[in-house]
Symmetry: D2
Subunit: 361 residues, 4 copies
């Protein structure tokens, strides 16, 4: 029931199947007076868009977003904002042959069992195409948070297969098709993807999101902690299997004396915690990472069953990303933006009168 | 605002500070007719309780839970269930000397900045003591899910420091103070904790939760996916810095051909996904792991500041767990139980009429 | 914040301004497997549609609804349903002269003060046009409840001005433009409206909704009582100033001995309560009434101020209903349907296993 | 499911049965820094308390509330506030004879059918005793709204039976046991209640709530309108069958020219709307009225059935209010306060930056 919404005060509700007539969403709770045009949303949509390089699916969608309400004379009015993207490249015939098959590691089997019916075309609602509206909604949150409080929310590809890509240069991220911040790793990434294409296989990835200029105080203990809500938002992205805040799984073999972030009058001396203490932002940079599995849509044949209970062999030819993690960068940014925006408003509701004190020099 | 609730249909709302007069919670949405006594809740509370071994804090709390409503003649009535645990060991004086200090890596600083005021005694609301009510609520969910659908929800200590503990024997878990399922690792764990005690330090840990006999179909795409809600619930536990479903971060360097779970008429051939596909339970065993940081409450002196903005040195003596991850096992079980219970009811609301088909031999 | 949604399990979120490019909504939580076409929604939309008789506004809207998602091969899939109605008759120029004026008893002043900005065209979001999507969403609820449990949800005009119209014949309701169930009152209604048109005035009305074949057990004490949620849903309709369940305000001067509904083995002996006891449906017919004020959009000049703080005189010429209560009938039916549908699902979630007993002969 | 909560940002969740061991609630979302003591809550609890005059039930409850969390050194901390009232006068034996009977017009039948089980003692959860916690929660809202924005929320008995009581003097309201603002009507009320006591009957009532100094801008279109949320909150009180905002049902036979509230630079010229336009507070005084039915717990014998399906005769002797409407005054005030508080916070979240303009002289 009712799982297509996220956020309590900045509330995003989406609809749309991969091969339906349109995708859409309603964003409720946007403060009035924000300057907003379709171009503001289109930028991130274009970053997410398939078909932009040879490394992503060749499905081509214009992904042209329309603002249908909630904006008047260039400014948000405080009423709900309706967004729409019409699907132009629907080619349903491509999918007729998988109509009766439960593709392994896809949601075909679980949707069928849960609902007793499923839109098999391109994965229907379970398609990554659904994330386009997240990106559009996230762009509004990003814009508001930046204009209002200077927050910047940026992501990069931290790892693909065993190629680790460090955060060396934010400029670089927008200049290559991998969202890679380390120019020296580009040839290796390119080589890996070529090899995967040849072998008809795919690969996992790690994406890291970095938020700077975060105000102290965002997050609601005890269940709606900022880190808990980030984990929810990020784990809701297709193919994500793990979420880390700050040092994440590296804390397991660390001692308290190694892992704590000491404080002096000059500020925090380290940031193992990733900018969140007790579920509340500390004012330090927030860092969150996600692990994305390799897409199971590969050419290498695998075993599965059909809806009549027969064993079948499946191999996927056609338009698929060899590494879905690449395009997850703008999606993850959007989910972080939506979460922060929600907490920004939630904090304002309860603690509007509290004065932030400056403890550091 | 209003962050002290979790769950949409199985709704748990908690209150209580570490050194206040009592902890409590209200559980709304429990189906009527479930046999329930205080003893049903006490079992898990006792597993979580501090002071039970030399490896945990020596603070002693009876943690005796009372059911105040919602149960009549031994059965739940469908009305909201009020639970209460009175605090008996309040020793507020222990904490007077940290009254004006922001302990490093604690929530002192963020609570102070968010609310402009804080209950400094024992961490107040940010204390792990708050999790007692989670365990009580989780026990109700566990009982219902087991009686109704045979689900078993169990956890174990998967790693402490660099000591990995495999799941060898569930029986073993309840027979040692570490929730360790690998008897051979007990001496190593013991040795590590002794050494930590001597050095006045602490250590991180990994806890894994395993859910068996899960019905297919639980989880609500696209935002309230079962894995997303598990991530939220688990990340809301104090000290947790990472959450994994199934293979988690190990998927990054795996290929689609390695990582997919093939299907035959005999069933799934592997379970890299950890029992969830497209956000919906597949009927396979659910596996989730969390990383818990070492507590920063250690004897080794560290730098911090006080509320007047002076540099100070902090070291914590007294009643603290050297590895908070140990006692996180029943807490994590409870959070998984609460999440599954919520989704069990949610699924029933929408898809009650859908017949589950048996595709496997 | 986020006030554009209604319903917890059957969740309806709407967007759209009177003179924007489109109205839309997302309906989340619809059970899978329901046969659904656009024609199913169009019937009630046509009943609500303006321009269908000389008694309603002459604004002409096709109000043609499109289903954009959530339905596949004629059946609901369990995913969110996106609906869209494009605005065809936008004539924004009509409204330019009220751009700077706060029309008395309209929402112009309050929107301006709340948001600091407003879409003045035709009332923007505050226009009754917004209710079109409610009617479309309600049609889905109606269809499901009827097919699943035989519920019928019907309304009629109970009073206009001082003309009381009794429920004499349901057939009659669909045969006149007033939704009047008492054929003999038609000439009086006609005469009143002609007189109002001549004098450039408008009139209030009372609408009554009747729900038959209601299952016992719907409603969630203590706050989400069925009557409380109906009151919320009905009071959210434009121009509604009062809501009654059963005998409503007539209970004030009645005694317990007059007002109670006695029970025998033949069933309830009366229905003063209107089908709800303790917030839970009793299985009797549900009856709810609403009072709608006369629209302030009249030709008779009235005093107001403009956005620059000057006194002005306002009179409304053009396309307005002399009695907005008439078209409220399908809207009120829809709001009752949405509320009952939500409670139908909520009840199923918690009390699915409870067997209804037959106490009556 | 989960119907025991009200409010999105100022969230109140209650538990407790009439004859259970205690009543309690959790209030989440209270801003930090509010001075709060148990005495602040006790005042309204005492106004609601039974046994204070010969006109109300002689059940005597101390109704002594304890604050268990969320307040530290006399101020709210921003964390959830737990409240508890222990039941002292439980006399369960009084109710054993109604154990197997469905009292007419009570919730016995509907609870039994909904849940398959019920706590029959004193009505269990359906008892008006449940409202004690509402009053306690409302007292916090009242205090905050008054201190922060000067809002005063007051109610009075507007009618009992056919005795209408005008609002003549607020002082008078607290000086008689009827909450009557018209001193001259006191003898008539007294006489009516004596007569009812003699005849073993009960009577309905009307209560009106008046809110002064309301800021403009509270309320969230389109579903969570302020009037819709007030209707929800007020209709959720036991025995309420109708809710009116402003002129309420009197608008039905009024014309637009009579009913509109004209505006001049001196302000609004009337207040037929009751202080709310388009679901948003206009800054005028808010007025809301409710109709309460006579309690069916009367001595005059009535027909009913028992749980075995036999016809029986029921008459209620003992401790019952002849007019439950009287004690509804503080309860209704509390529900209005809770609703306004929620909207106060909601408005602040979204529209914090909007400047209210002064249009009137």
């Amino acid at each position: 029931m009712a799982g297509n919404s996220i956020g309590k005060l900045f509330n995003v509700t989406t609809f749309g199947e991969s091969h339906g007539s349109a995708l859409g969403c309603i964003i409720d709770g946007v403060p009035p007076g924000l300057e907003l045009t379709e171009a503001d949303l289109q930028h991130d949509l274009d970053r997410r868009k398939p078909g932009t390089s040879r490394y992503t699916t060749q499905r081509r969608e214009a992904d042209q977003v329309k603002i249908l309400s909630g904006v008047f004379e260039g400014k948000t009015t405080g009423t709900s904002i309706g967004l729409l993207i019409e699907n132009t490249d629907q080619r349903s015939q491509d999918y007729s042959r998988i109509k009766d098959i439960f593709r392994p590691s896809h949601a075909d089997y679980t949707y069928q069992q849960k609902y007793g019916v499923r839109d098999y075309r391109g994965g229907g609602r379970a398609s990554a195409r659904e994330t386009a509206m997240r990106v559009a909604a996230g762009a509004i949150a990003k814009k508001y948070l930046f204009e209002k409080a200077g927050l910047t929310i940026r992501g990069y590809l931290a790892q693909m297969g065993d190629i680790q890509c460090e955060l060396k240069d934010w400029q670089q991220v927008e200049q290559n098709p991998f969202f890679c911040a380390d120019e020296q790793k580009l040839p290796y990434l390119d080589e890996l993807l070529r090899e995967l294409k040849k072998s008809g296989d795919s690969i996992g990835a790690k994406v890291t999101i970095v938020v700077e200029n975060v105000p102290v105080g965002l997050g609601e203990p005890v269940f709606d902690r900022l880190d808990a809500d980030l984990a929810h938002a990020l784990m809701s992205i297709n193919a994500v299997k793990g979420v880390e805040i700050g040092d994440g799984f590296n804390v397991i073999d660390k001692r308290g004396s190694q892992n704590r972030d000491e404080i002096t009058t000059n500020g925090f001396q380290s940031n193992h915690a990733g900018g969140i203490l007790g579920g509340i932002s500390s004012g330090q940079t927030i860092q969150a990472s996600i692990a994305l599995k390799a897409t199971p849509s590969i050419e290498i044949a695998g075993q599965s069953i059909d809806v009549r209970g027969n064993d079948v062999t499946v191999s996927t030819h056609g338009r698929h990303d060899p590494c879905v993690g690449i395009r997850a960068v703008p999606i993850a940014e959007a989910m972080v933006a939506i979460t922060l925006m929600d907490h920004y408003l939630r904090h304002r509701a309860q603690c509007n009168d509290v004065e932030i004190r400056q403890y550091f020099k």
